[in-house]
Amino acid sequence: MSTRVETPAPAPEASAATEVVLRRPRSKWAPYITTGRYIALFALACFFLMPVWALLLTALKDPAEVSVVRMWELPRSFSLETFRIVWPELKEGFVNSMLLAIPASLISSMLGAMNGFVLSKWRFPGADVVFPLILFGMFIPYQAILIPMYQVMKSTGLVGGLDGLILVHVIYGLPITTLIFRSYFTGISDELIEASKVDGAGMLRTFFFVALPVAPPAFAVSMIWQFTSSWNDFLFGVLLTSREYWPITVALNNIAGGQTIPFNQSMASALLASVPTLLVYVLLGRFFMRGLMAGALKG
């Protein structure tokens, strides 16, 4: 980070117009300004991390030690006891959510990739109409479609199990995954696709052999988004599944929402429930940085 940016511009002088100023003169306040900025940033970061701090502390305390008065104090002894207590309650929901979120994010990302490809690189007449129509799906609130969706699912016999919930999440994710992949593929050189056509590949083979291999960064974004939103969803989960298929959000609600549940258990459950999404961010996040197109073009 350069301190130069922060330095106030020197008063315009007559000579400044004629000579090229490569480096602005440093103000004598510059070091203080930088330090001050970091202090402010640090303070804000602490403020925003306070809930996480409380969550971690409380979850790791011995159940006997938990109290509202001493919420901010460090635990006297490190204990995983609380996790041991809540895990049996969460286990089923955790497994259900995995069985829901992984296929839902994979399928909707894959379909989004196909959509994005034909809407950007293998365009068909009417593509300019179809794309905005797909995007509309993003702006429809869950609540607006809840009742008709439930009726459709019920009449097709998909209410109760995870398959129906997966289908709903796949469809609901399509607008955003389509948008992600369309934007990504638009950035890819047309000549690459044309080279593949001239080499004899049709639409499907161009997609699978040429476009898909360069798409992992878009997959990372799309998977993170879809995994997070289907993992965190509560409304569809509670509405469309029967008790044995409840996702973790519903199970979490039963623990955290109860009146008599000690709140260290709520904290531990919340922590457990958020681990997979955190892992997805950490594991897939590094793909953002990679330039997978390197070497295709003259460079």
């Binding site: 000549e191 001239v198 080499d199 004899g200 291999p213 070497g295 295709a296 073009l297 003259k298």
Partner: protein, 392 residues
Amino acid sequence: MSLSSTSESAARRGPAGIRLDQVSKRFRGGVLAVSDVDLEVKPGEFMVLVGPSGCGKSTLLRMIAGLEDVTSGHVYIGEKDVTLDLPQKRDVAMVFQSYALYPRMSVRRNMAFGLRMRGTDRIERERRVDQVAEVLGLGPLLDRRPAALSGGQRQRVAMGRAIVREPQAFLMDEPLSNLDAKLRVSMRAQLSLLHQRLGTTTVYVTHDQVEAMTLGQRVAVLREGVLQQCDTPQNLFRHPVNLFVAAFIGSPSMNFVRANVERRVVRFADLEIPLARAVPDGPVVLGVRPTAFAPADRDGWPSLTITPEVVEDLGDERYVIFEVAARRVDTDATRAALDARSADEVTLLADARARFTARLPGDALATIGEPLTVSVDPARLYFFDPDTGAAL
């Protein structure tokens, strides 16, 4: 190390010709990019499409490849009308300006991709890739990804990817324009050799007239979507059909001046040159190649006295630039031709006066500011209609 012996499929078919019949392209929005082009590329011929940027040469090439729809007219490859065929159904290979290598495939897989898509079996694929890689010196690079290659190497891989296919024709869209000047010259020579060896029909697009002249067996000059002239480099140089072709072809470019023809004498500024052939009386644009000048008095050649303004000494030859007391010819055609040239050749001095360049032998005496007598070959004067630009 012969490629031709292994190209059974290509040899069996023989190279195919390409024929464009009244081909036009109108883009959505109404821009007419290519207008009624008739062009025949003979089997095995190296045809260069050349012209300033936006002249439609790339569009024409892309229509042959099938990457661009044809608005009207027909495209034939071999005897077959392919106008409506998809690119993957046409047996042509293309080399793109950006090379367009598949970034996630190794060089080997890049080169084999076209064969794989066409169902060639694995053993045959590997054999052909190895062979072409050996010829192009790509052997040690076969397992690298394109990202790990230099510009020249990527260029060769792109070339190799086309050659491995043994297609009916190569289509090349400014394949050398991303290389540095030195590499470009050596690649140009290698490309000529390669064509001699393979004998595959090639259509090559460039905006560089030197590249066009050195590579092409025939060169098609395009301007604003219209085919101006298609001929051998020699004929383009010697018998340009109009002002544009005359100004575009040749380096340094032809000198132009407005002149008047009267009873087999052409007059411009304070000069008179008797003509060797009949030209209709009236105003004309006179064109003189820099190479049409010779020092001092040649037998039977008219002479003129000039005052050199600039003398460029290149050892073997010297370019003498002098002013002519007449207005510079500045028509759309000459401007378009100049735009297409490299920037250093464009006139720096926005002066209304005409300047001529004369090429003289290296030992010819020429001093800046001192009058000098040069002679002109009367047989190598060009006359153009000042309104239409057509050669007279």
